[in-house]
Point group: C2
Chain length 145, copies 2
Amino acid sequence: MNISHALEEFIETARVARLATIDPEFKPHLVPVVFVFDGNSFFVPVDEKRKTVKPEKLKRIRNIQNNPNVALLIDEYSEDWTRLAFVMMQGKASIMPFQIHGDIQLQQAYKKLTTKYLQYQRIGLGEMCIIIKPEKVVSWRNSQV
Amino acid sequence: MNISHALEEFIETARVARLATIDPEFKPHLVPVVFVFDGNSFFVPVDEKRKTVKPEKLKRIRNIQNNPNVALLIDEYSEDWTRLAFVMMQGKASIMPFQIHGDIQLQQAYKKLTTKYLQYQRIGLGEMCIIIKPEKVVSWRNSQV
């Protein structure tokens, strides 16, 4: 998978992405997510904000466990439509705990998330993480409005 | 389908949504879209911006023709995470031309789109429209950060 420098910068500066999974009835499911990207994979924390719902019960988690195919969209809306752009990745997702003995990739993702989102310094980051390995990248920039 | 007044206002004021479809390989596909909502259905114009690509060839259109199940997400990101909220609709989509003899719903959607997005007064609105009838609505507001 090749991601250009310009695209990587577009991805790095984005604060939010949208994650699509497929539910057991073959219907798409969509949520906004925060994320970091290490040049190869995307890391999406599984927030345990709603303390009555265990993360493994979250719909997005169950969907990924049933079907690892996901899509992640990064875009920023502007009223100046000549500035519209997006990047959409299709890939496979897996669920992992951040703390796996000796896994440096996940440790770095944890650090990157708490540095990118200072909000986590107050509310704490959960234990689990969705890792997305992009297989196809579609990028689009509006140049013909 | 019941949509509360507060939710309808949240939907009405949003300028952008994200549309998930499912491709023939059962992988989700995601794009940002503009839209209007008439209280029952969502209307997403099929923009013919890239003049080399006919709208029926657009991936989202082919996906909907193969599988009408879609999801539409409306959310606004804020660095103040207590303000995060989203509404996600799962439903069925169909592709229709705006100009169908005597179809008032589509005529009104066309008007609503050109009023909501003044950009169309300059670039013109395409002929085709994706109509989404929501079957399930999930709304979420962060109250526990």
